[in-house]
Amino acid sequence: MNGKADEFEQLVRLNRENLYRIAYRLTGNRDDAEDLLMEALTEAWESFRHFQKGTDFVRWVATIMTHTFLDWRRKNSHYELVSLDETNESDENEEPMDLPEDAEDPETVAVKRAFWKAANKALDELPSEFRAVVVLVDMEGLSYEEASKILKCPVGTVRSRLHRARLLLREKLKEWL
């Protein structure tokens, strides 16, 4: 491989946990997360010659990934339904990556698991644009400005989408709040 490809591969390896986490949170299941990463990283590699040193690689790929995800959803209306079914069947049996390390009583663990399951379902039911902004701001901790750059929309749009998304999530998760 040439130097540019080596450099790209190294950046992917260094940031793989962050990249996968964003892909998973956007799609809600591991198979779609892998497909999303595959497509986004392929596109990222093709335009890697434009990547400037000093740019945040994760943000750069996250931008491609978010728009790829939104395009998928726009093009394929079946996608949301397929993902919904796959999410709960294929990922439920797997041990989550970041379960609390401290020994918690089984009841607390059970409540947490029930909340996570409900939260994942509620996220799956959100319109894609709302899900994207919730993932970026609420789950990834980005500022409105950072999210607006990734989503390529005004800060005001981020703010109103986030608010509407939160109201929808609050309705669905009311018993845990």
Binding site: F8, E9, E46, W116, A119, S160, L173
Partner: protein
């Protein structure tokens, strides 16, 4: 302002992005409004809860598959680049060959008179068809050619 109108402000307050003036106005309202206070608490709890939602590990071998795919893409791109330049190289080589041939043909004098029977030179100046007849193996053609030759000589 109704509670519904305050709610977007509450969402921004949860994120700490309100201006000092907006923040003071909202907090003053919340001191007297139970519904908005409850909304604020729920949105804060929602935000906190969403961050705890875990991410399961990727499928086994996912990164190897992804990186293999990227390496393949990189190699394919290089191959495609070379492949896309191939017609240019072939075109250039073909042009050189054609040009060389044309120069050779133009600079070489025809040597027909040195290799063909001198009689045919006379024929060539008269009629090209007669040349064909003279060169033919068919005896009848030779007879026709001889007759045409005689006629040509008689004209001269």
């Amino acid at each position: 302002m109704s509670c519904e109108q305050w709610s977007e402000q509450i969402s921004a307050w949860v994120d700490g992005v309100l201006s000092e003036v907006e923040k003071a106005a909202l907090e003053a309202h919340m001191r007297t409004c139970n519904a908005c206070r409850q909304t604020a608490n729920e949105l804060m709890e929602l935000k906190r809860g969403l961050r705890t939602v875990p991410v399961p590990p990727p499928r086994h071998g996912m990164w190897e598959r992804l990186l293999r795919h990227i390496r393949w893409q990189a190699q394919r791109k290089r191959f495609v680049t070379v492949k896309s330049l191939l017609p240019l190289w072939l075109g250039a080589a073909a042009s050189v060959v054609l040009l060389s041939s044309a120069i050779l043909l133009l600079t070489q004098k025809p040597k027909v008179s040195q290799t063909v029977n001198p009689q045919i030179n006379v024929l060539a100046s008269y009629h090209a068809d007669t040349v064909s007849l003279a060169l033919s193996d068919n005896p009848i053609c030779h007879l026709v050619a001889s007759a045409e030759l005689s006629e040509a000589e008689s004209h001269e």
